[in-house]
């Protein structure tokens, strides 16, 4: 019961801040709501007994990436009201269609989750190591090695791309 109350409170905060992120006029405030949103998501991870993921969520997203967002937003001064830049190439219908598709997909996942019997065994349960951090590390370097390496390649490509874009005549 207490677990359910905690979950729904956290979920309400997460959704509330997410709505504020997209509706706030002032861009810096919007970024700050995004930070709060990430902190509440981290709390959700703590509730799911995944402290490592929670800490990484705060470290990487709330503390790292959003600081860079804030930099950009602060320096480009987006104080104009949103009406002023209505883009003629804006694909409103396509956007709504895409959002609807994602919504249907999520709904299907939730419904199918209710239909099936809940899977009791998580992959972490029969590992040779204990402790959340050790288990995450173990799984990343055994079962999920290839996706993990592909993700790191992606980051490397993005990094090289950024350097090439910034320094054209290197």
């Amino acid at each position: 019961m207490a677990h359910a109350i905690a979950f729904y409170t956290l979920a309400a905060f997460i959704l509330g801040f997410a709505i504020l992120v997209v509706t706030t006029k002032d861009t810096v405030h919007s970024v700050l709501f995004l930070v709060l949103d990430f902190l509440f998501v981290a709390a959700l991870y703590v509730m799911l007994n995944a402290p490592f993921l929670a800490v990484i969520q705060v470290l990487v997203y709330a503390g790292g990436i959003v600081v860079l967002y804030l930099f950009v937003v602060m320096l480009v001064n987006l104080k104009r009201p949103p009406e002023a830049h209505s883009d003629p190439h804006r694909m409103t219908k396509f956007g709504f269609g895409l959002a609807g598709a994602v919504l249907i997909e999520l709904g299907a996942i939730v419904v199918s989750g209710y239909m099936k019997a809940p899977a009791v065994t998580s992959p972490a349960q029969n590992l040779p190591v204990s402790g959340n951090t050790e288990q995450v590390g173990w799984l990343l370097y055994t079962n999920y090695l290839i996706p993990f390496e592909i993700a790191s390649m992606l980051l490397l490509v993005a990094m090289i791309g950024a350097i090439v874009l910034a320094k054209r005549e290197l």
Binding site: V35, F52, L59, G63, V67
Partner: protein, 340 residues
Amino acid sequence: MIDTFIIPTLKILIVLNATLVGVSYMTLLERKVIAWAQSRLGPMRVGPQGVLQPIADAVKLILKEDITPSKADKWVFTAAPVISMVPALIVYAVIPFGPVVRLFGRDVSLYITDVNVGLLYIVSVASVGVYGIILAGYASNSKFPLLASLRASAQLISYEVAVTLTLVSVILMSGSLSMVSIVNAQYNAHVWFGFVQPVAFVIFVIGSLAETNRAPFDLPEAEQELTGGFHTEYSGMRFALFFLAEYANMIVVSSVATTLFFGGWLRPFPNVAALHFLDVIPSWTWFLIKSFVFLYLFIWIRATLPRYRYDQLMRLGWKVLIPVAILNLVVTGIVKVMLL
């Protein structure tokens, strides 16, 4: 009831109050030590040898007028000092001041909590603390604070990388992220990690000077260039909160340095039975003594070294500290694999 609620609450109260008193007396210590370094006396008027000066300062700052600039972003301007203060305080939750001791017939641990990801928790909370400085500079809507906050965020992000890399080499040595386990690992290894990881230790100290905006890396509050830095537009208690946060962060990095590199609450030579008489001194006293040495070192460095130029700061961070930290990490890994 007593074990799950009352004792943790008491511990939190004691740690928070002790921190705030410690922080206010750090200001006095800093003024005194710098005064001695410059052949002055420092504060002498309030109380004998000026020992009541922090209280007088606190009263003065509370009574001062609290000004918000008319063009400031009010909400963010109010939130910024709080955002820099809170992370500095909640870090103390995982710092181990001592082991589990018997107190009034009960086993009481001398730390608030020991989470499995303690060290990462400290790093992540510290990374959120950056917002206080950035937002203070932005919300003031004034050019010097904005310049200072840009400097501060660039500096903090760059040095955080080097510091985190040194922490990884300590984690390799201890095999755990929990602060208590790291101290126990030093007991079991019969050596403080500061002696097996001297490179990591030096980089950690340099990086933590930069992360707490202390001289010689105090560019975000370089008075001569920025009329005060990111807190130029702040006055009264909000201004004081930034300083309290800075000193609280200094105590945090000293405690972390003590825990990671100098054996935390362990007495010198904890495995030598002949020095058993040293156990008369309680473990938390050793912790406080070691942390005090670091705090004194910080003040001493401030009194000694001139400030870096901004490009020198960035060059030191990216071209020296980070490569050396990575090299140290690789060597540590290789040695660790060879010896096991």
